[in-house]
């Protein structure tokens, strides 16, 4: 029996930041092997902070609400802060998820982390360049 909180319904009905981002600095995806649902997160990063975040999602109500809440929580955070967002944080921000829907929150966390890693990988050389610059 699925009963969603009002918060979940709100984010499901009006998801925040739900669009693609052709000029993203980085992106990351995660697919849940058990249900086949899929989330791609796009990032624009400035000064180590997530300036813009968006996503495309194919999944259940909980995964859509999760995606939306993940974007809301991550926006404006440093990459490190965003990387440390947990499933628990998302579930709490959504006022809970039904027991058989808890796994859906993993979609948001995993795709976000994958996007951050993608950004760090892409920018490793520049990073080290910047680092060496500043150390000079």
């Amino acid at each position: 029996m699925i009963i969603y909180s009002e918060k979940v319904i709100e984010h499901f009905m009006c998801p925040q930041n739900a669009h693609s981002m052709p000029d993203a600095d980085a992106e990351g995806s995660y697919g849940d092997p058990s249900c086949g649902d899929y989330l791609t997160v796009y990032l624009k990063v400035k000064d180590n902070r997530i300036e813009e975040i968006s996503y495309l999602v194919f999944g259940c109500c909980a995964s859509i609400a999760t995606s939306s809440m993940t974007s809301v929580l991550a926006k404006g955070k440093t990459l490190e802060e965003a990387f440390n967002i947990t499933e628990e944080d998302i579930i709490q921000a959504l006022d809970g998820l039904p027991e058989n829907k808890v796994h859906c929150s993993n979609l948001g966390v995993s795709a976000l982390r994958s996007a951050i890693e993608n950004y760090l990988n892409k920018n490793r050389t520049e990073d080290s360049y910047e680092n060496s610059n500043s150390s000079r």
Binding site: M1, I2, Y4, I9, F12, M13, P15, A18, S20, C35, G36, Y38, L56, V57, F58, G59, C60, C61, I64, N100
Partner: protein, 387 residues
């Protein structure tokens, strides 16, 4: 956006009480409480109501009153028919023929029997959901004791060729059961025209109360009881009778017999409007089940690139009640056995909803639903550009 409406489009899951049924039930609840087995005045009054209900149910399906046994619902009727006939036939053999798209009340019962020494053949269906009578004939063995095929499928609405299958069963003198829970009260159901020996029906699908049903047992058909005890219902089904429920079923049967022709034409018209509207506005939508040989009140569509659950919750927010898969399992997220069996891919199957109309629905409801549904499908598809 249009004014918000309340549109219940899940009549295959359950129906509201018909006002006449409600009135009769409240009257019984207030006035007749005796135990029909009691010999005194209170018992006799109860017994009379019980038998009136039996007559009404019998009339609805062309049976004799003494061939009707009251049960606690469609699930128990199915269990009693399948287990009862299987065990009664044990001396002859242990082979059962059914279809792969039966309701869980039949399917899970067959699975249980298969674990207990019976051999079950699950006939496949074609892409429209039809069982082929030829397949039934080919599956029959010397030790076949029961054939059980549903009259119409509760998810996709396809109406099976029961009269033909019944003729084949009779030729071979094999007991034949049909689960008519979805057809009674919606299309003509006559036990002799269908050539059935056992037939299940449930009150709450025909504007009667939940928790009561009936099993038709043709005179001469042997079945063993499932429950043991006080000898009620001619020992087929002991336990103090659910008098208010049974009276409600009786009244619902009477009303159904009276209103059937008009209402089912009206349901057909509403469903045609819904189907046409969806096909026009969402051209790649796929109608499941046979386009004509279907229940008059059933519409079942798959929309690729959507999730049934999301459509259900989205529509619910707009006052529209539908279901994904069958109601009983609409909590589950997997593809139902019926959708799998008619060959839907998991992706397409995931985007399936069932809309079933009923007494309270009007044309304007259909138009309201169409607008809401089209918007939701488009929005969901936009989230996911892959599609």
């Amino acid at each position: 956006m249009a004014v918000r409406r309340e549109v219940y489009l899940d009549h295959a899951a359950t129906t509201p009480l018909h006002p006449e049924v409600q009135k009769e039930m409240c009257h019984i609840l207030e006035n007749t409480f005796g135990n029909p087995s009691s010999l005194h005045f209170y018992g006799r009054a109860a017994k009379q109501q019980l038998e009136l209900a039996r007559t009404r149910v019998a009339a609805l399906i062309g049976a004799r009153p003494e061939e009707i046994i009251f049960t606690s619902g469609g699930t128990e009727s199915d269990n009693l028919a399948v287990i009862g006939a299987a065990f009664a036939g044990r001396s002859k053999g242990r082979h059962i023929i059914t279809s792969a798209i039966e309701h869980h009340a039949v399917l899970d019962t067959c699975v249980m029997l298969a674990r207990n020494g019976f051999d079950v053949t699950y006939l496949p269906v074609d892409k429209d959901g039809f069982v082929d009578p030829l397949d039934v004939r080919k599956a029959i063995r010397r030790d076949t004791v029961l054939i059980t095929i549903m009259h119409a499928n509760n998810e996709i609405g396809t109406i099976e060729p029961i009269p033909e299958i019944g003729r084949i069963a009779r030729e071979h003198e094999i007991t034949f059961h049909t689960d008519a829970v979805q057809t009674v009260g919606y299309i003509p159901v006559h036990v002799d025209a269908l050539n059935v020996d056992l037939l299940s029906l449930s009150a709450h699908k025909i504007y009667g109360p939940k928790g009561v049903g009936a099993l038709y047992i043709r005179k001469g058909t042997r079945i063993q009881p499932l429950l043991h005890g006080g000898g009620q219902e001619r020992e087929y089904r002991p336990g103090t009778e659910n008098l208010p429920g049974i009276v409600g079923l009786g009244k619902a049967a009477e009303v159904a017999a009276r209103d059937l022709p008009g209402e089912s034409a009206r349901y057909r018209m509403l469903c045609d409007r819904l189907i046409r509207g969806i096909k026009e506005r969402i051209p790649d939508a796929k109608l499941n089940g046979h386009p004509e040989q279907r229940l008059p009140h059933n519409v079942n569509f798959s929309f690729c690139g959507t999730k049934g659950e999301c459509l259900l919750v989205g529509l619910d927010q707009q006052g529209i009640a539908v279901s994904t898969g069958s109601a009983c399992s609409s909590g589950a997220s997997q593809l139902s056995h019926v959708l799998k069996e008619i060959g839907l891919t998991p992706e397409l199957g995931a985007g399936t909803i069932r809309m079933t109309v009923g007494r309270s629905n009007k044309e304007e409801d259909i138009d309201y639903v169409l607008d809401a549904l089209v918007e939701l499908v488009e929005r969901q598809r936009a989230f996911d550009e892959k599609v």
